[in-house]
């Protein structure tokens, strides 16, 4: 049983001018045994710091951290039964791959034949067996990354910690390693905490995702829930690519009004927005839920926006079409056969069942 629990954990750093900087605020979550949880958020939001606090490489300023059934607040990293894959891999440059893999086991004074077997098993799983006598500098980026993972595997820890392990690889290798890591998780049956700034990596790997921003946890949910029910504008804008569009609207009398259009809302939406009578709101709609007039996919054309096409990006599988509503630039992900041309006055249809409304001040999603 290796759950990882944060209870009101906070981390403050004091800089050279004695100013405190809060890197992680009121962090609360429970990572279940054998779960693959991904921490995602923009650079500097406190992901690495959170991970390092689990590892014991950074001591939390406040709060409790539990691994398994133990409170590990005061435990040294080696006593936490964790293994970490560092962003820069942190392979020992002067040791061979074999020595890199066995260093931890040697320090634990395990018998030679046991070490040899574990190194052999791990290197076979990761396809490193023919590289064991090389030095890290004689390996490609992808191979080094595997060695870093191998060094974690041989230790057979309760919890694996990964800090942006794929960020130094090229795009193609990254996709391949992503699949391998997912398979590895199934095989290892271990708890994995994985940090990345890449939302696609998070969505594909995580069973649950912790979205962070500015040191604060924004939402903890499954990939589908994050996509379908983002709790606030930050999560809505961070998850999904291209990001969700936001349009400033005013709600009045069962209708939302925006520059150039107004919609009568369906009955259930009207109920939910009652408190916003006469007030401003932000309407959120994902690019894939906007359609060109030519291909309506059964969307009634009551809900439509008309605007001049500014830019068209042809990606082959789809066309990204950009247009303005008020100040905001809006993106629509249209079928590649759509006839959108720059300068054209075009009608875009909204799938109203996929629309979200956010409070202007709190940026929280209203529940509809």
């Amino acid at each position: 049983m290796a759950r990882v629990v944060f209870k009101n954990v906070e981390k403050e750093f004091v800089d050279g001018n004695k100013e405190t900087f809060i890197a992680v605020k009121e962090s609360n979550f429970t990572i279940e045994d054998k779960e693959f949880v991904v921490f995602v958020g923009p650079s500097g939001c406190g992901k690495t710091t959170s991970l390092r606090m689990i590892a014991g490489l950074e001591k939390q300023t406040r709060g409790d951290i539990m691994i398994g059934d133990r409170v590990v607040n005061k435990l040294h990293p080696k006593d936490r039964d964790i293994a970490m894959v560092f962003q820069d891999y942190a392979l020992y440059p002067h040791m061979t791959i074999r020595e890199n893999l066995s260093f931890g086991l040697k320090n634990l004074k395990q018998p030679k034949d046991v070490i040899a077997k574990k190194v052999k098993d791990a290197s076979e799983v990761l396809g490193l067996d023919h590289l064991l006598d090389r030095k890290p500098k004689e390996l490609s980026g992808g191979q080094r990354q595997r060695v870093a993972v191998g060094r974690a595997i041989v230790r057979d820890p309760q919890v694996f910690l990964f800090d942006e392990p794929l960020s130094n690889l090229d795009a193609k290798l990254r996709v391949q390693m992503r699949v391998e890591l997912a398979e590895l998780h199934k095989r290892l049956e271990a708890t994995i905490v994985y940090v990345t700034h890449d939302q696609i990596e998070a969505m594909t790997l995580g069973q649950r995702i912790v979205v962070m921003n500015k040191g604060q946890i924004q939402q903890v949910a499954s990939p589908t829930d994050l996509y379908q029910k983002p709790e606030n504008m930050f999560v809505a804008g961070f998850i999904g690519s291209p990001p969700m569009n936001f349009i400033d609207v005013t709600y009045e009398n069962g209708k939302v009004m925006m520059e150039g259009a107004q919609f009568v809302l369906p009955e259930h939406s009207v109920q939910a927005l009652r408190a916003y009578e006469g007030k401003k709101l932000v309407l959120g709609i994902r690019p894939e839920h906007l359609f060109g007039e030519d291909i309506t996919m059964g969307v009634p054309d009551t809900y439509s926006l008309t605007s001049t096409v500014q830019v068209v990006e042809q990606l082959g599988s789809e066309n990204l079409v950009y247009f303005r509503v008020g100040e905001r630039m809006i993106t629509a992900k249209l079928h590649p056969d759509s006839d959108a041309r720059v300068g054209q006055l075009k009608k875009f249809l909204l799938d109203m069942s996929k629309v979200h409304f956010f409070d202007v001040k709190t940026e929280k999603r209203t529940s509809i």
């Binding site: 490489l57 560092f86 962003q87 020992y92 002067h94 320090n107 500098k137 230790r155």
Partner: protein
């Protein structure tokens, strides 16, 4: 061809300056010294005498004595000094940046002072009366005053002591830079890998500092083989040739006995020894230092 020359004209002009300097001030003296080692040197009519200078040199017992002194001096100072330098650097590295800078400056200070000034300080230290600095210190423990520089048993050791307590600043700065260059994440990985403090030192820090250590070893040996100023200032090679090093012998031969030919021959032997020893060190220690 001409076009090509013109394209690169400025490059050649820039290179010309150091090349000329090298030719005039390095290569020419070396060649002329080499020629001189086969001559009985007189300013007006040098006399060609073949290998006579070399024969004289190898028949001279003081020459062998000076080789031995130089060897002993090198073996007893270079490794010890590297150890001292390393320990000081390791200690300073643990401090905060502010204190690191302070100690770096303090440790480097002796390198700025001239060898002559430092020798004067050491004269006061080695004062043979019971009021000498070192002797009065030893007096606390009831020990008799020692005539540091004027007896054969302690003279060479006294010169060694000067290097132990001498300038480690340059080496410290090199070590500190190298220590700072080792990624912190290696130590964190080692922490997670159950490495003890000793394991982190012996399996990570020390091996990764090997290039720096090798550099200090090779340059240290080269400098040590040419030890001169302290001999010249403190003991003039005495007593009874106990501190005559090969560099001092060369100086004596040339500028006290005016045997420039013989001095050149001695210089060439010294050069040859330094080259051979340096090559051996690289061969012995340089396996896989780069990383």
């Amino acid at each position: 061809m001409v076009q090509k020359l013109r394209d690169h004209m400025w490059a050649y002009i820039f290179i010309l300056v150091p090349v000329l300097l090298f030719l005039v001030f390095t290569l020419y003296p070396i060649i002329s010294a080499f020629m001189m080692s086969f001559q009985r040197y007189h300013v007006l009519n040098p006399e060609w005498i073949g290998f006579d200078n070399y024969k004289t040199m190898f028949a001279d017992s003081v020459f062998y004595k000076s080789l031995w002194n130089t060897f002993l001096f090198t073996v007893c100072t270079v490794p010890v000094n590297i150890a001292i330098t390393f320990m000081l650097a390791y200690f300073i590295f643990q401090l905060r940046t502010k204190w690191q800078t302070f100690f770096k400056a303090v440790m480097y200070l002796p390198a700025v002072a001239s060898g002559v000034t430092i020798s004067l300080v050491w004269f006061a230290m080695f004062d043979p009366t019971k009021d000498g600095m070192i002797n009065s210190f030893l007096g606390f423990f009831g020990m008799e005053p020692v005539m540091w520089l004027s007896q054969t048993s302690t003279a060479l050791f006294s010169l060694m002591l000067m290097t132990y307590l001498g300038s480690h600043g340059a080496g410290i700065i090199l070590y500190l830079a190298a220590m700072g260059g080792i990624p912190k994440s290696l130590y964190e990985a080692a922490d997670i890998d159950h490495a003890s403090g000793w394991a982190k030192f012996s399996k990570i820090t020390w091996p990764l500092l090997k290039p720096t250590t090798l550099y200090l070893l090779v340059t240290g040996v080269i400098i040590s083989f040419q030890v001169f100023i302290s001999v010249y200032m403190m003991t003039q090679g005495g007593p009874d040739f106990a501190t005559t090093t090969i560099a001092y012998l060369i100086y004596q031969t040339a500028f006290m006995f005016y045997e420039f030919g013989l001095a050149s021959a001695q210089s060439f032997v010294l050069t040859a020894i330094i080259v051979v020893v340096s090559i051996i060190q690289f061969k012995m220690f340089s396996t896989d230092v780069e990383y």
